[in-house]
Symmetry: C2
Amino acid sequence: MAGVRQFDEREALSRALDVFTDRGFRATSMLDLATGTGVQRGSLYNAYGGKEEIFLRAFGEYTAGFLAGASAALDRPTKRAALLSFFDYCVRTFTAGTPAHGCLSTRTAIEAATESPRAESAVRALLDELETLVYTKLSTLDDGVEPPVDLHAAARLVVSTTRGLAVMERVRYEPDELREIAETLVTSLFGR
Amino acid sequence: MAGVRQFDEREALSRALDVFTDRGFRATSMLDLATGTGVQRGSLYNAYGGKEEIFLRAFGEYTAGFLAGASAALDRPTKRAALLSFFDYCVRTFTAGTPAHGCLSTRTAIEAATESPRAESAVRALLDELETLVYTKLSTLDDGVEPPVDLHAAARLVVSTTRGLAVMERVRYEPDELREIAETLVTSLFGR
DNA sequence: GCTATCTTTGACAGCAATGTCAAACATGAC
DNA sequence: GTCATGTTTGACATTGCTGTCAAAGATAGC
């Protein structure tokens, strides 16, 4: 097999993810990706076809990392503690960077959904997996605290709330305010 | 005063709002606005300066309309009924159109926040007013049902949840699913 | 009617991005 | 070392949009 790729794909996709995280799907151009990865535009076209494909690959890594982090955060002895830790993880994730870069999946849901069905599906898949993850963790924790609603519904509401927080963050709600909103939800679901 | 504007400003801004609602802030070009309003690009530049200014004016009308609708929807005899009606109004609002156009303020928060501080402030102002509206209505309703959290916090969580629903809608959650998420929240806050 | 004033119109130059391609290049297989 | 194969590179044509402007047009006040 001669004629071999000259750049490190893992490295390049990781850098590409940084660019997308920073600028969002729509605002990043192939030139941005070329600059960010150190790979020429033509090479990127040759290797991946275009922006959407690069995004989907980079987003795959994002998904894996986010779910792993969320899972770790949920590892707490009570439902309340697990959810507070989970929300704290979310808030820290999307207020990282200066200026804060926001939540990539939420930005993608809004920006890319209409113009890229594949990106839409990728985000939807992430949310579905996240809901399953939250539900599984909650149903595992037997701390005697029962919510006033079905646990599946509670998990979905939790996921939905992460999206709400991501939007609020974009209009200058502070991290502490976001955590407070989350705590309000957790208290409503599982008490104090 | 000679040299007078040839087009109906109210009509034009209303049409412009339709365009923004349909395509979102970022994706609408001045040409889109010219086509949508029937006013030439040059005239729009002359009258308003550019896209941001047109958006802000159109968004003002959106804000007024949305708050009026929300207020009407909240006019129910119990907290639970008021909130369910409110969320139903939200869901109907942003699943309108074919294909559904989503929630303009949420799309703007994500799309425009970084590139237009004024748009960001406009969205933030809308959310603040909405929170006040919800809080006021809830605190007025004396149906004997008390939430397990502070009412101000509850109102903010409600507003945040509308944002969450708006994001979920973008990745193909159906109207009924969105209403179900909302109901889960309402039940958590005020019981069945 | 005339005029001053503002608006409308179509055209223009500029910019940023896209997607493609031929030529130059690197490398594994033999 | 040669070759076949896929990659890299810089250039190119194209597109869509922006912002501006001079000339033409409309209208209120006189």
